[in-house]
């Protein structure tokens, strides 16, 4: 369990990348959304201990990450967007690096690799970007760390590989694992996510379970503008809308629409509506 208290990070040039975030992040598959420069990658760096907070604290199971305690480090693995493997093959990497992680599972790694059509003995230097990502993610998932942080894991992958990625993720992630995936391609893994986090200008604008979001609002499509919508936008002759879920409608979450809504001028009101407690809603009614 992560505990972030007033977490702030400033770059040396003075730019504030992460601004006063206070949140608890528990187990589950989290989708981290945000515009370019919102601070998603910096947040992942802070969550993995790669950066030290300028202000505030970032603790994992009660241990400050900036202390870089071995027992904390072995519980967390972060795969950056520009991750580069230092070894000639993934199998070699597993032999030399996997030993640090007590839950590392060779069978799982080879099963993941096989799903992607790889053996683990391919020369990494000769692989394409997409192939490398497949190999790295197979390895990262096989480490079976309680926390896995992935920055744009599907980058460079073809359509089939993205489908396989869903399967591989489902197989590899344990119930108690915390997986945070920062991606702009929200449809790749859409239905897998259990929690959604939206960052804007260094702040965590929204962070809550998907079921709670769907309890508050519904995502509907209509040929005409939807009266009383919290947010709506035209899309190919139809209107995509987010409406209060007062009638307990069962809809699927549309991450793209939610993200657009959160970034729009109506974003503050929408986020306030979503994050208001059930009791508050009942009182309003």
């Amino acid at each position: 369990m992560y505990s972030l208290v007033n977490l702030t990070y400033d770059y040396r040039r003075g730019a504030r990348a992460v601004n006063d975030i206070t949140a608890e992040i528990g187990p589950g598959l989290h989708l981290l959304l945000g515009e370019n420069g919102a601070g998603k990658t910096t947040l992942l760096h802070l969550l993995s201990g790669l950066l030290f907070p300028t202000e505030g604290s970032c603790a994992y199971n009660g241990t400050e990450l900036s202390l870089r305690r071995p027992h904390t480090l072995r519980d967390i693995f972060f795969m950056p967007d520009d991750f580069e493997c230092a070894f000639s093959t993934i199998s070699r990497m597993a032999r030399c690096h996997g030993q640090f992680y007590p839950n590392f599972n060779y069978e799982l790694m080879y099963a993941n690799l096989a799903d992607f059509g790889l053996t683990g003995n391919e020369r990494i230097r000769t692989m394409s970007l997409g192939m490398r990502r497949k190999a790295y993610i197979s390895y990262a998932l096989a480490l079976r760390t309680p926390v896995l942080l992935l920055d744009e894991p599907a980058n460079g992958m073809d359509i089939d590989a993205k489908k396989i990625l869903r399967r591989v993720l489902t197989r590899s992630i344990g119930d108690d694992s915390t997986v945070i995936i920062s991606t702009h391609n929200v449809y790749d893994l859409g239905s897998l996510f259990e929690n959604v986090m939206i960052m804007h200008a260094g702040r965590l604008r929204l962070s809550m379970p998907v079921w709670q979001v769907l309890e508050r609002v519904a995502f509907v499509t209509s040929p005409s503008p939807v009266p009383g919508a919290l947010y709506q936008e035209p899309d190919r002759g139809r209107f995509m809308a987010i409406i209060p879920n007062t009638d307990c409608i069962d809809t699927d979450i549309d991450y793209r629409l939610l993200y657009s809504a959160a970034m729009s001028p109506a974003g503050d009101a929408l986020v306030a509506y979503i994050t208001t407690t059930d009791q508050d809603h009942r009182n309003d009614r």
């Binding site: 071995p70 972060f78 580069e84 690096h97 640090f100």
Partner: protein, 261 residues
Amino acid sequence: MTDKFSFRRLDLIWSYYSPAIMRQWIWTLAVVFAMFGMAMLARLLESMGLFSFINTLLFFPVYLGPLVFTVYNDRAMQIQLPATAAEKATFYILHSLVIMPLAVLALWTSLNSLSGLIFGDDNGIYGYFLPTVLEGFTNSGISVLSPIFILQRLFMELTPVAVVLLTVLIARRHRVLKGIGAAIGTLLGYGIISGLIGFVVAIFEAKNVAALASENVGDEMVPEIVNHILSRLLNTLTGITIVCLTVTVILTYRRVRRMQY
């Protein structure tokens, strides 16, 4: 898993770097063999100049030993390795300042013994050149067997290694170039500092220097005065080198502990 220093984790760090280190050893072996070939050539040509040049070059594989940590462009992995900063720093320092120098020294000594077998003990590479080298030192009043001289030489050779290690840990880009630059810069800096210390010692020893220059001193006194001045110079240099090396090692540990992505 405790935070106490763990040799098991040190072993795991070795395992992580082992492919790169193995490659480095193969390269070092090749370089030392090439040097040995050149030293044999110097012996055949009886060229003291070439021999001195080779002796200088021989230290470069040691100076540049820390470059092995630049083979992996993996700062994220390096920081994330589940080990304490002390364990990581110990590994970097141990490999750069102890294992590599000892390995090169052992290899060179073995090859020299081989040359003794080929040419006969007195005519092996060192057997042939060493008396000339020793004579040079003895004439200048330095005892090559004195502990202070050995200590000074040891620390003098290790300081560039420590500086290169610190440089490659600090640098984010062009780490190899910066590492090579650091090695050359340290050697040049050492030369300049030695010159400055020589100048300062000469000021403090003005009376003795003037006495030597005035030719009023008897021949039997000259070596004693020279030895006194050189001892002072050597002691000062040794002290400064030890301080430099210690500070660089401490900075290396701090760097590993505070390294960010």
